[in-house]
Symmetry: C2
Subunit: 391 residues, 2 copies
Amino acid sequence: MNYNFADRVGTLQPSVIREILKFSSVPGMISFAAGNPAPEAFPTKAIKEITERIMSERPIEALQYSVTEGYVPLKEAIRARYGELFGENDQIIITTGAQQVMELTTKSLCNEGDTIICEAPTFIGSLNAFRSFNTHLVGVPMENDGMELNALEQALKDNKNTKFIYCIPNYQNPSGIVTSLEKRKAIYELAKKYGVMILEDNPYGETRFAGDAIPTIKSMDTDGIVAYAGTFSKVISPGLRVGYAIAPAPLISKMTVCKQISDVHTAIFSQLIVHEFMTKYDYDAHLAGLGEIYRKKSDLMTGLLDLELAPRVAYNRPSGGLFIWCTLPDQIDMLDFAKKAVERKVAVVPGNAFLVDESQPCSSIRLNYSTPTDEQIEKGMKILGELLSEY
Amino acid sequence: MNYNFADRVGTLQPSVIREILKFSSVPGMISFAAGNPAPEAFPTKAIKEITERIMSERPIEALQYSVTEGYVPLKEAIRARYGELFGENDQIIITTGAQQVMELTTKSLCNEGDTIICEAPTFIGSLNAFRSFNTHLVGVPMENDGMELNALEQALKDNKNTKFIYCIPNYQNPSGIVTSLEKRKAIYELAKKYGVMILEDNPYGETRFAGDAIPTIKSMDTDGIVAYAGTFSKVISPGLRVGYAIAPAPLISKMTVCKQISDVHTAIFSQLIVHEFMTKYDYDAHLAGLGEIYRKKSDLMTGLLDLELAPRVAYNRPSGGLFIWCTLPDQIDMLDFAKKAVERKVAVVPGNAFLVDESQPCSSIRLNYSTPTDEQIEKGMKILGELLSEY
């Protein structure tokens, strides 16, 4: 049979990162390409206690159907901890990871051809979610403190059918950039001025290990124009698939209908686990320990970057998140470098994978320090240094 | 702000059943409206053992990111048990419940305006998934042994843009009808003749407690035209949200890309639990026990139907599944009956909720026997009998 697929998926490809990750299973491959939390950062002891308690005390609740909106006590725990994210008319929905927030927001808001303005570069999973609804994507270049504001305003002027601006203000994936308070305010004002929404994605906010926390855009939202995506994937466990959206009630209502026909509800056992961890354990102490793990791993990788690759390779020292964005000197062909690195058994992600148009020039690669062991970081960075010296 | 939603969700409403289920929390309400498995059918002891073992032996595997396609040993266990479902070029993907199969299949195959042919009545969650992609739905009336074949062929002739025929051949929701072997073959031949696919949904196949098993349409598929939706929701636990699709490799490939941008992967802890239960416990003995529970509950409800409501109310005795489809006498206004039942604290689902066009006339209601207790079934059926006698 000749399968005729829908136009929306005709050109949609599996993410480049996933293709690269296939190399990770090659024996001896050192992967700086993933975005997995460090295994030692998981609160396994606590989750073991929690699952035993749930299966002893309320197994039916963990196994029966639940409501699409999410487990009520978990929603309440999130509201109690992150009260500043809730505007007067905001509601919350629990999602199957933050990825689902991208899909539900786009499905609820965008007709085919509608514009979404994105940071350039940005998270490939979100780009592909947007693409899968045949939306029109416009990238706005990133500066060291966030989107270039003139380019953002121009994009808003040029695309009257813009539905929302997508941004990751904290420790952006892949650039690691933190959007300044000033720019967060400016982005909010521009969205308001042009009558579009903002989709603020904050998976890494609580991985902060240096610098001060900057208020989220959602916390400034007095006009009901910001949808916020949160997740426990980077701070508790990604395998449980628990995220959430906080947004104006009419949008949450549409997202709920869309979620109902997508997966009915998020695994309730997972939701119970996250709820117990949030409310019966010292969440702040856990986050502090997690920050310490990532600070050490980041220090190890940046120290080796300084030793082996800088100053020819430029990068920003991370203060949170899982990634370092490294820019190669102009005369080096980035894709050639990434290809040769894989041949020497070090996987990195070519930066163009994070662009709206992957064929645009890009001289950066993304390195991850949360997944590899310290030994792998040491060995892998040495290999990258040797490779650089050959150019 | 004036929120402008996408056309596809503009008219999409929460399911009527969910609205009715809100009454279930009213104190004293007896709900025959849900579709939850009986709590006593859950293998809670086994799952308690399994979760303890997983969290002792391999907690990182249960908590870390996993692959979009699904946990490989679970896919292998499904292939080992249900080998007849796999054609030469078929693949499998693990999904977040069978509901996600409906969404991924539609997203992969259907442009806006494409036709999907459905049984009438059929499962409301699937109808809404199809609607959410702005597809054109055509209902084919059900007879006691499955779809009316002339109407099906006429629908195929009239709608050249048909992408697939959606059917639930075993213990259909809501009608309880089992499609005969003869009709399964005929539906397959018609799909082949008109060059369309079949989406075969089989959530209830293993809840059989009477009669012989009839081969699935998928098991006859030598042409690679059937996508099959399976799930563990009705036989192990719906709260874990583990289902699967078996379909030709090109379709599974597109569904995988769509799933990656929807929820990345299905909760891996849930997948590990289902895998251990399938491979380390006596699955057939579990299913036999489950069938016994449902046979008893079905017998209780049909006995009371005979006593209180038949022959004015017509129904078919179930041989599996969770539902009884009851047709009221012509002179009774079905919606009025359902409304009065709720006022007397018995919730039933008005049958028109399961039609492509809910405004079409319908004199049936759906009763569920798996969720209420025996006492609730006795009390609720008596109330319905009293209500009927007042007409």
